[in-house]
């Protein structure tokens, strides 16, 4: 655990307490079994927002606490522990960061206070295919009457069914694969021509495919500069990725602790299975990876807070390390639980499914490793 300020320790402790009491894994299971339309419980999110968690990275001038990314990461880690579902990453982290980093004062005024209060949910609409690749943005934004007309579609939009605002990556010039020519737009979900359809993934969270069928927006809908949205988008995505890594770390820690408890209680051959050395050494390996991963995740969040130029490298490392470690731990969770871990009634499958969904979001482990390698000159 990073060296925390007193305020950060308090934030973490209150998140831990609240999550344990109000959002245990059983709460997520209920949402899943009830096929909750948004993928999360709006009442629970309202409570989170009331505690200030939706405004952690938003300046005080716009209703937030400006408490920083490491602080928000502490909350996300606790949420990850119990698979607590909320739009914190999509709205309070990713979309909020986009507005903070790229928005005009008017844009900020319009959206940030509502996001911070949990009254509005915003989200990024970036990917158009199965695999994350923002350079492949093809959704067209053609000039139309002083503004733009958006046509195309986005998929796997986080909290896409709940969102009031989409921050859409569109192409105003250039071709797929090029950084130049990408522009970000603020598109309210109720704009004419916007339709969305739920996508149900194995992790049972709130994804949507969103279609833009000649959606007219004014020039003031542009976030940042026309054609030059890609660097801003990358900065925003890196913040989201660091948040995902924090959630993944929390999941991995809890998956490990749950497994460790089982190792200490399950008896076979007259012994707790945790007394078998082969399992002990595998547990030690997991613990080692968890410690290494924590260092990477905290370093990435701290790099963002410090506005370090090494942020992209630090984030790629954190997302990849969290991906590998969560992959290892969630698989071992099933294996070490044996048959019971294969049943839907046990939590192991929930962690396994969510692990892969997070792994693939905003760049897989392989994608981030290659990205890190390219940045390091390999």
């Amino acid at each position: 655990m990073a060296v925390l300020t007193e305020e950060q320790s308090m934030l973490r402790d209150s998140a831990r307490d609240w999550v344990r009491e109000k959002a245990p894994v059983t709460a997520f299971r209920k949402l899943r079994d009830g096929a909750a339309p948004l993928g999360y419980d709006p009442a629970a999110f309202a409570e989170m927002a009331a505690m200030g968690w939706a405004g952690v990275v938003i300046p005080e001038a716009y209703g937030g606490s400006d408490f920083g990314y490491l602080s928000l990461g502490l909350v996300l880690e606790e949420m990850g522990r119990t698979l607590a579902a909320s739009p914190l990453i999509a709205s309070s982290l990713a979309a909020a960061s986009a507005l903070v980093l790229g928005g005009t004062d008017a844009q900020k005024q319009a959206w940030l206070p509502r996001i911070a209060a949990g009254e509005a949910v915003a989200t990024l609409a970036v990917d158009e295919g199965a695999r994350h690749d923002p350079l492949q943005t093809g959704l067209s934004a053609a000039p139309a009457g002083g503004g733009f007309s958006l046509t195309g579609s986005k998929t796997f939009v986080l909290e896409g069914m709940a969102a009031d605002l989409f921050i859409v990556a569109a192409r105003t010039s250039g071709a797929r694969g090029e950084a130049d020519g990408i522009t970000l737009f603020l598109v309210p979900a109720d704009a004419r021509g916007v339709t969305r359809e739920k996508r149900t993934l194995a992790d049972a969270r709130g994804y949507a495919a969103v279609s833009f069928d000649g959606v007219d927006v004014g020039a003031k809908a542009v976030l940042g500069a026309v054609d030059q949205g890609y660097p801003l988008l990358e900065r925003v995505l890196d913040r989201a990725r660091a948040g995902l890594a924090a959630e993944m770390l929390g999941m991995a820690v809890q998956a490990f602790e749950t497994t460790l408890d089982y190792l200490k209680t399950r008896v076979q051959f007259g012994q707790t299975i945790g007394s078998f050395q082969a399992l002990q050494h595998r547990a030690a390996k997991m613990f080692t990876e968890l410690e290494l991963t924590r260092s990477c995740v905290e370093a990435a969040l701290s790099a963002i807070d410090a506005e370090s130029p090494d942020t992209p490298q630090a984030v790629a490392l954190a997302k990849a390390a969290a991906g590998d470690t969560l992959h290892l731990v969630s698989r071992e969770m099933v294996q070490m639980h044996g048959g019971i871990g294969m049943t839907d009634a046990h939590d192991a499958g929930l962690y396994l499914k969510r692990a892969r969904a997070l792994e693939t979001t905003f760049g897989s482990t392989a994608w981030h490793r290659d990205r890190w390698g390219r940045m390091a000159g390999y």
Binding site: D127, G129, A130, R131, H132, T155, F156, E197, K198, R199, T200, L201, A202, D203, A204, Y207, A209, V267, Q268, F269, G270, F276, A278, L279, R331, V334, Q335, G338, G339, G341, M342, T343, D344, A345, A348, G349, L352, K353, R356, A357, T360, T361, S364, A366, W367, R369, D370
Partner: protein, 396 residues
Amino acid sequence: MADFGGDAEAFRVEARDWLAQNFPPAMKGVDLALTVEEPTGDARLWKARMGAKGWGVPTWPTEYGGGGLTPAEARVLQQEMARIGARNPIGGMGVMMFGPTLLEYGSDEQKQRHIPPIVRGELRWCQGYSEPGAGSDLAALQTKAEDKGDHFLVNGQKVWTSGAQYADWCFCLVRTDPNHKHEGISFLLIDMRTPGVEVRPIKLISGVSPFCETFFTDVKVPKENLVGPLNGGWTIGKRLLQHERNSLSGGGGTAGRFASGTPLDQLAKTYVGVDGEGRIADPDLRSRLIRHQMEAKAFLLTLARAAAESKGNQSPSNATSIMKNAGSKVGQDRAELAIEIMGSQGLGWEGPGFEREELEQVRNWLGGKATTIYGGSQEIQNNIIAKRILGLLDHQ
């Protein structure tokens, strides 16, 4: 080296003729093992003919309705069936595990009663081994069979009874002596329609329910259903597990699992694309795909080698326990890679937006996690290799 002697080749003509006359062409490529319902029409005809001929279990003795073929002849039959796309309509746990075991340990009366229906594919068997407190440590089982004179009174709970909801009979390990762990276990056959038997399907992480919990409450089992001696069931039960491992690793099971579906290189070219040199565009993924495909090839070569080495030798070989871990690793790696290749599409659960193959791959991935748990977990297999094959001892 010739693969087969002259006799087996002579049998080829007989097999070909019989198949020409009896195999309904409409059944080409149809695998009855994949359906739960009773077959009708051509399927029913094909099953009945093979059942009557005994060629569904070609090497079992004719005395109990089996084919009575030599192993060499059975391979010829297999080749001739493969040639015309004929699948064996007779299968299930009765054929793969219980039948061979009963043939070895059962009384003549038991064989006369239970083997012919298996040969004809008339009755389904399920396995009553694992219990909530007895997984890898199977011998810790507690389901109790009390001697009540003319019958046993069975009470207890089994889990992972595969297909119990469709089964007619269950072969069970039960405790007949609470004072001896291994020497207090008996091998008992239980009619699933007996009063007091209750079956509850278990939903798995993949969403399906191939297994059940089976509860026995004051179930009366006739004495004649005891196989082998009282308290002598452990040896029989272990022997049956060898047949299970054999069928899990050697045959269609594992190898089939990772050979099915679109080949990974095609999946990768579709979902990931290629770079300027025609290589799969994600270099990290590409390296791991190549490594996996090479491991898969090594496993297939090892299956072929073991088959060649064990020719004419019907009993399970030492190599079996290596195959299970190696094969399940290849299968699990394949499934992980498949969903990684397909990105978010590879995690589709239900509803619009997903191809059938995508929805299948995610279930295949989750379901495959059981391959390192059932039939002797990965850890148990490693223990077996270390102790039985390598001769490493436990703490003394």
